[in-house]
Subunit: 247 residues, 2 copies
DNA sequence: TTGACCAACTTGTATATACAAGTTAAAATA
DNA sequence: TATTTTAACTTGTATATACAAGTTGGTCAA
């Protein structure tokens, strides 16, 4: 019998490290769907930590839909294979594309600093004096231009933005270079009539409507710093969400 | 100065009671957006409990998007007014309709026990021997038939289902009468071509596409017991989601 | 054999303590 | 005055303990 012995690197928190370690084992298939995880007591011995720390890790797994905890019985692994597409949460296009393993390309159409007009002021919390980055990009997937991304970023937080950054990943730049702590977002989804701009930058393929995903992105201190409108061609749109019932 | 003194009824857990009490104060406007909540230490004194219990309540508020915790500073109330529409999560149509305060009606078109065909077996985890409730209902909002709901429930969990129950709220019946513990769900959203069934039961209004929300609903023990397909007219569809970034 | 009960497990809640780490504003210092 | 330091706050992490409550499987008695 082969015993899986995990070595945890303790750069991060203990409970986060354990969460990531258990998640890895689930992804690798060491723990299969419907398997029972070791009990909290056993895990606390394996990881040489307290039960409360184990419980923090397990609760994270539960919130994210990887396990189900059942009182008196234990924790069982859920069928996670179904959730591996655009699961709810804050995921950038680049992270998504890598997961999907598709041939993707980003085309930058606009990149400029603008004074916020009424439209921008409606969505981003800025005054007429502030400056705002406006970025318009289309996303090509397997040779088809499917998604039109319109980003508005508060210049106060982002002094510089280049063509290269926009072609790669703005998120990566913000988090890794500028060390901005992106914390949470509000998403709003609805269907809109297609516009001339959509026709100009996308392969609209004769559709008259388009799925709009509006994103309000906030930093750690709850300041709104970005508004993004993502316009998806009807036939390629897909959103997966995991939700727990709260009573 | 008026001091708000909350009286907590201790039927439920302490931390849940505190969560609900704080939430109520936020909804009532006793705590306004951008207000700072009392510190964890103060709250633990006010509620006569330990700091850990307060932290459980605050973490719930944070997960659900009501507050933002900032290390070293405190917890501030987020602008919750924006999230009060169909926020992500498991919410039944009846609960939703009550929140929106719209004139709604449910029309039951089909209600029968069927042997699962290939279509049902694809979505619900049943064998050919099992029996399944099939319910088809349309939802009328302000006089227009907007949503077509197709429910499939495993009969093993739901022995009886009546016309009245389906007109009211299946969820309410399941939870209150049958005492089923609905625990979590996976939602999948995409756009589909409109079907003859849609045209038959809905005011499709000339649209050629329809937004489909598929729901896989699970009980506490992680058993899949219901599959629901909710078909929304394009122009009336709207989905709001709050998501925290996990690193 | 059947059922009741119990012991040993499981997870859930609540509490107390200690220290780490980030923030803030007053006090001390140059 | 301007800057640095410090003290007093804040939230975050980790640990230990106790008991409640649900599950399971074996034991024992009818």
């Amino acid at each position: 019998m082969i015993q899986y012995k995990s070595v945890i690197v303790m750069k991060e928190n203990k409970f986060l490290a354990i969460y990531n370690d258990l998640l890895l084992q689930i992804r690798k298939g060491i723990f299969q769907p419907n398997d029972k995880l070791p009990s909290e007591h056993e895990l606390s011995q394996q990881y040489e930590t307290s039960r409360e720390t184990i419980r923090k890790a397990l609760n994270l797994l539960s919130e994210h839909g990887y396990i189900q905890k059942i009182k008196g019985k234990g924790s069982i692994v859920l069928d996670v294979g179904k959730y591996d597409f655009p699961v709810s949460g804050l995921v950038s296009f680049k992270e998504l594309a890598q997961k999907m393993k598709k041939r993707v390309r980003t085309i930058v159409h606009e990149l400029q600093v603008v004074k916020p007009d009424d439209y921008i002021r409606k969505y981003l919390d800025v005054t007429a004096k502030d400056e705002v980055w406006k970025v318009v990009r289309s996303r090509e997937i397997e040779g088809e231009k499917i998604i039109l991304d319109k980003d508005f970023l508060h210049r106060k937080f982002v002094p510089l933005l280049t063509h290269e950054i926009c072609e790669n990943s703005i998120y990566e730049y913000l988090e890794n270079e500028l060390k901005l702590k992106i914390s949470f977002a509000k998403k709003e989804m609805f269907v809109d009539k297609i516009t001339d701009e959509d026709r100009k930058y996308l392969d609209v393929d004769g559709y008259e409507h388009i799925v709009v995903v509006q994103n309000y992105v906030y930093l750690e201190d709850a300041s709104l710093f970005q508004f993004t409108e993502s316009r998806h061609r009807l036939d390629k749109f897909r959103f997966v969400d995991f939700a727990r019932r709260t009573h």
